[in-house]
Symmetry: C2
Subunit: 219 residues, 2 copies
């Protein structure tokens, strides 16, 4: 692992995965985990109510380092949101692609969603997209674009699910995959909101079950 010799001039190696041998003083933090901490704060308190002092304390980085690493507060917020979406997508993409019956796929999606929304030491953290949409999206065009992307991405993923299920004959002829997808997204949104209001998981699961009964039966 310790390929410490100087870079062979001819060898066009891929970026070394470890020990990049940077030039100056080494960082005292890991950007990934610091961003994760920032994400936690933003998710709990929102943009305006999260101060740079809070972020500094949570990440262990002092403000200038924070600024140097991620840019100003808004940039850090956006990077946090991107990170959130990457994580959420990574957690769901396999299930969306899996070749399983409709109901089973949806059940797994909602289980993941509830895990995401309900986790958190100081209360359920909800959905970053919903939080951001609710507050920042009106006034910030850049953030608004990201929110719309996030919403439509989910719509599309569900849409593929339902279209696929219909082709397989799991849904009646008259079923409208797009409409069902929007209802599936709506169910995601409603449980995200309720989770934030500390509605217990059991109730949320009941709401999901009722929704699946309607969406999968759809007759």
């Amino acid at each position: 692992m310790v390929q410490k010799s100087k870079r062979p001039p001819s060898a066009a190696k891929i970026e070394a995965p470890v020990a990049p041998k940077r030039r100056g003083r080494p960082r005292a933090y890991e950007p990934e985990v610091a961003l994760g901490k920032a994400l936690d704060l933003f998710r709990r308190d929102g943009f305006a109510a999260t101060s740079l002092d809070d972020l500094s304390a949570a990440t262990g980085m002092n403000r200038p380092s924070l600024y140097g690493a991620f840019g100003d507060k808004r940039e850090l917020y956006i990077k946090s949101y991107q990170r959130y979406r990457d994580d959420a997508r990574a957690a769901m993409v396999d299930i969306f692609r899996a070749d399983a019956p409709l109901r089973e796929r949806l059940e797994r999606i909602y289980r993941i969603a509830l895990d995401i929304y309900l986790s958190g030491e100081s209360g359920p953290r909800g959905c970053f997209t919903v939080m951001t949409a609710a507050s920042e999206a009106v006034s910030d065009p850049g953030i608004r674009t990201m929110v719309v992307e996030g919403l439509t991405e989910l719509d599309k993923a569900f849409g593929i699910c339902f279209r696929h299920a219909k082709e397989r004959g799991e849904l009646p002829e008259g079923a409208d995959p797009a409409a069902l997808a929007h209802l599936a997204s709506a169910t995601i949104h409603t449980i995200a909101i309720r989770a934030r209001a500390r509605v217990p998981r059991g109730e949320l699961e009941a709401i999901v079950k009722g929704a699946l009964d309607v969406l999968c039966a759809a007759k």
Copy 2:
């Protein structure tokens, strides 16, 4: 704190509806309209991003007057939220009570909802409950209680709708009114979120139509 401190010994009369003949200097503002202005600000920017200076400017009241009339910022926020809920309820209660076919009732409810969410000079204002749930509900028990109340109130209103429709034979025997109600609420929530992201009304109406096709399907 149960008993009112000092009560006028002789005057036990009901509050006069007009010309209350108050004692000191008259107010230079009308509490109702001032609260409305505060509500507008809170809806646009959320709790943390709305400063007392903003509120003071919008209401025309200086800070001490604001404080005297409504209490501190959090109290003003809560009163604004109550006002919002009163307004929204007033706008919908007649429709919920009306004796009309299911689909028509729902269509009217969603039309009102879209009016509420999309109005606003500086962009769509969204739903106060959704905004509040997303940000303040986790950390503030009092606000959380109000949010939960608001959510369940809507669930119940929709629930009555669907139960009534089922009794009238507008829905099939197997229909689950509670599940349908949750989906109807979820549709409210999803359009509130999308409205905040400036999704145009046409798209929101299409989502509503698709949802109604499923919820009223009753095939």
